[in-house]
């Protein structure tokens, strides 16, 4: 199974420069972090969904991660409920009881609405993150990061990371299968500390092959004169197109509008209860 690998496609999202997508992304993260305004979140989810639809990412590519995300999301919401069942009421300054559970725990409409907002935050980012991973060529990404003023050595580190994630992933699978074939139990049957020690039987071979890989790759780069000069040129570099500039301007406009809508009443929460 291929996971977060770049695949060449002919879509709008693929043609955008890596930096444009990164910019979109960072703004998206900041806005989604700051706002609790349900209307803003809804628009952001719609855009994210469109992006992943356009990037033609396949469901199998990210089904596993999506399930993990759903798991964390549900735990977080349940946790918030059990630690402070009435935080929604405090935030929205009203209380509508729906269902009494036990003791001091009553489900209120405000708490449900707050939880909905917390969950929506997840959906604003994750789909576009997948789209970014499958639609961005690591080399082009490094070039365009350097193009906007990031040091090229730093850009190269990120590009190497994105490039080697699939390799490390297949290493991981191979080594895990080999260890399980030798009878090392990796599943939930063992105790936590025992399992932790056993994961070292996977991590250690991976770490070794990675240390070798670091030697090989850094030698190869040094032989080609990497790091000698302050600047370098890029094979995969492409100047920002008109579409890129349009997207950047739209992103800024949207973020400004979203933040204004969120904060103009002095409160980051959208309150339908008043």
């Amino acid at each position: 199974m291929k996971l977060l690998t770049y695949t060449k496609q002919d879509t709008f999202v693929h043609h955008l420069s890596g930096v444009t997508k990164l910019f979109f992304f960072l703004l998206w993260c900041v806005v989604s972090g700051l706002t609790y305004d349900t209307r803003v979140l809804a628009v952001m989810i719609a855009v994210s969904m469109w992006v992943i639809w356009d990037s033609r990412a396949k469901w199998e590519q990210f089904a596993g991660i999506a399930k993990l995300m759903a798991f964390f999301m549900i735990i977080n919401v349940v946790c918030i409920f059990f630690f402070s069942p009435y935080i929604g009421c405090e935030i929205y300054n009203s209380r509508t009881d729906l269902l009494h559970l036990f003791g001091n725990y009553t489900i209120t409409a405000e708490q449900l609405f707050y939880s909905l907002n917390v969950m929506m935050k997840y959906f604003t980012i994750v789909p576009s993150a997948f789209a970014f991973m499958v639609s961005t060529d690591p080399s082009e990404f490094a070039a365009s990061m350097n193009g906007v003023g990031i040091k090229y050595t730093a850009a190269y580190s990120v590009s190497i990371a994105l490039r080697y994630i699939p390799n490390v992933q297949s290493d991981y699978r191979r080594i895990k299968n080999a260890q399980e074939a030798r009878g090392i139990e990796m599943s939930g049957k063992a105790k936590p500390i025992e399992r932790l020690k056993r994961t070292s039987s996977i991590i250690f071979p991976m770490l070794f092959s990675s240390m070798d890989r670091i030697d090989v790759v850094s030698n190869a780069m040094q032989l080609r004169g990497f790091g000698k000069k302050k600047k370098r040129t890029w094979y995969a570099g492409v100047p920002l197109s008109r579409a890129d500039k349009t997207v950047i301007v739209l992103c800024i406009a949207f973020s400004a509008a979203a933040l204004w809508l969120t904060f103009y009443d002095g409160n980051r929460f959208y309150n339908p209860f008043q």
Binding site: L4, F25, C29, S32, G33, F62, I65, L68, M69, F72, I75, V78, C79, I80, F83, S84, I87, I91, K121, Y122, I125, V126, A129, F130, F132, T153, Y156, S157, V158, S159, I160, A161, L162, R163, Y164, I165, V168, Q169, Y172, P192, I193, R195, L196, K197, T199, S200, I203, M206, L207, F208, S210, M211, R213, I214, V217, S218, M221, F226, G227, K228
Partner: protein, 182 residues
């Protein structure tokens, strides 16, 4: 000097890839919800001890950023503290002698003291405070999660980090082939 620079660039890249892939292994502890053992943290501890604070911190920040982007959005409050244990461990890089094969009792003690202090600052204090400031989450929940993360992280770095460093030190030091006789 130049030589090290290129190696560090590559080490950050490949270390980050390792961190991201291993982040998907997660061992729940059960006692505190939403916290557990994350073996991937041992990668940060390892790279900090071998390559120094900059490499370790960069792996923590970039790796956690990529991982959290693909699993559910960035919690900025839990991202930035990632760098602190790495810096704490990396500051004493010169003392560990990992590559020379000298990672033994004293070095293990220094490594573990550094990681416990770094993790304490990062998770028991900084992350919950940022959580309250940025996300207005309930205080008792985030401090409990912070303590949970602190305990989980010192276990991972202490057990797994020490095992990895000691084993790697043993193997990589062998090429020198010389042992001091008593």
């Amino acid at each position: 000097m130049k030589n090290n620079n290129v190696r560090n660039v590559v080490a950050i890249g490949i270390g980050t890839a390792l961190y991201v892939v291993l982040s998907f292994i997660y061992i729940p502890l059960g006692a505190i919800p939403n916290t557990g053992l994350m073996p991937s943290l041992s990668i940060i501890a390892f790279f900090s001890a071998v390559f120094g604070p900059v490499v370790g911190a960069a792996i923590g920040l970039i790796g956690q950023l990529i991982y959290s982007l693909i699993t559910g959005g960035v919690w900025w409050s839990w991202l930035f503290p990632m760098a602190i244990p790495a810096i704490a461990i990396g500051l004493f890089k010169g003392k560990y002698n990992v590559k020379e094969g000298g990672f033994g009792g004293r070095q293990i003690a220094v490594f573990n003291i550094a990681q416990v202090i770094g993790n304490a600052i990062a998770w028991a204090f900084l992350a919950p405070v940022l959580d309250i400031l940025i996300y207005s989450e309930p205080a008792n929940k985030v401090f409990l999660q912070g303590i949970g993360a602190f305990v989980g992280d010192i276990i991972v770095m202490g057990v797994l980090g020490t095992i990895l460093l000691a084993a790697y030190s043993k193997v990589s030091g062998k090429s020198a082939g010389l042992k001091k006789e008593d």
